[in-house]
Symmetry: C2
Amino acid sequence: MSKLRVLCFSISIDGYGAGPNQDLNNPLGVGGLALHEWFFGTKTFKKMHNENNDDGVTGIDDDFAARGFKNIGAWILGRNMFGPVRGPWRDGKWQGWWGPNPPYHVPVFVLTHHPRPPIEMEGGTTFYFVTDGIKSALKRATEAAKGKDIRLGGGVSLVREYLKAGLIHEMHFAISPVLLGTGEHLLQGIDLVKLGYHCTEHVPSAKATHVVFCK
Amino acid sequence: MSKLRVLCFSISIDGYGAGPNQDLNNPLGVGGLALHEWFFGTKTFKKMHNENNDDGVTGIDDDFAARGFKNIGAWILGRNMFGPVRGPWRDGKWQGWWGPNPPYHVPVFVLTHHPRPPIEMEGGTTFYFVTDGIKSALKRATEAAKGKDIRLGGGVSLVREYLKAGLIHEMHFAISPVLLGTGEHLLQGIDLVKLGYHCTEHVPSAKATHVVFCK
């Protein structure tokens, strides 16, 4: 059975998954990039952007980064993870943050209030725009994943919605040694114990503390 | 100059410093004991309870545990850290959770709304009860510490009060791989970045992630 999984989700020590004021220059909000320092140096990250790049570090961080792409048959993203455009799509020129060949290589379902035809990109990624809610997106992603798992990429508010609906099977957080102070808090007001989660893995590296929660 | 320091303060992955419903059987709230697993195995903890005990593990966790007692000339505690009694002190029989020889060995200032004469214990610990607020407690602890530092032991609500007042110089948190889901949240609604803190140390162990914040 396909599982809905949150993987490689970076949060700050004070619990924020993104900084405030996301825009074109700050896709992860102001200060948000620092959350992902553990990821940027990995072999997996380097290869994401250039298949022939053999740089990057292996080890704990890379192991978790690589797991984030294994057995994933579809992704679900919130609209703000797809881009900084708000409201209607205007000229439809925005095709995501990632250039012509995005690092997904599978169908990606983008939750939005504004309909838009699918966009077929290079490398196997197709963006589908879903306007009828999180359950519909999960249903469509499950069909598209053909038995593989679905990765919920974020952002914070979408993870919170799926959490409250009890639909997430597994979550891997990378807690980075930074403070954001403000921004989008991942767990505020959400009781993970009541939702049935417990910690199944705790693997610290020099750059982040990796924790996995399952139901 | 004496510094006010929070040391060895354990929090859960979801940011709670204590579980809910503290009482005589659950001094740290329900589920709260699990936050301190990293501490209970250390040489420092074993020696706290029996000077002749040479058991216990050394390493990262013990290093932080030992730092928690170095150069400390006085402690400040919230009333709930001193005991489960609420309201007036009644017969005055309660003398803390720790038996006749508490592990402080210096003056300890307990914040309370209810006056009570000091209690001199074995081993150098004297409990003083302060009824006129956190600044007064800090002033008296600073005098008593004679140039050494003051350790703010907690609980959560007292740390939050001192944080908001901008009076804490250094905080060491041990993030334990447990979820509490509910209880006393340490940082909710508090912006550590705005208060001037940044991360100065990040040392993960197998049992906890140790992070230090300074102004």
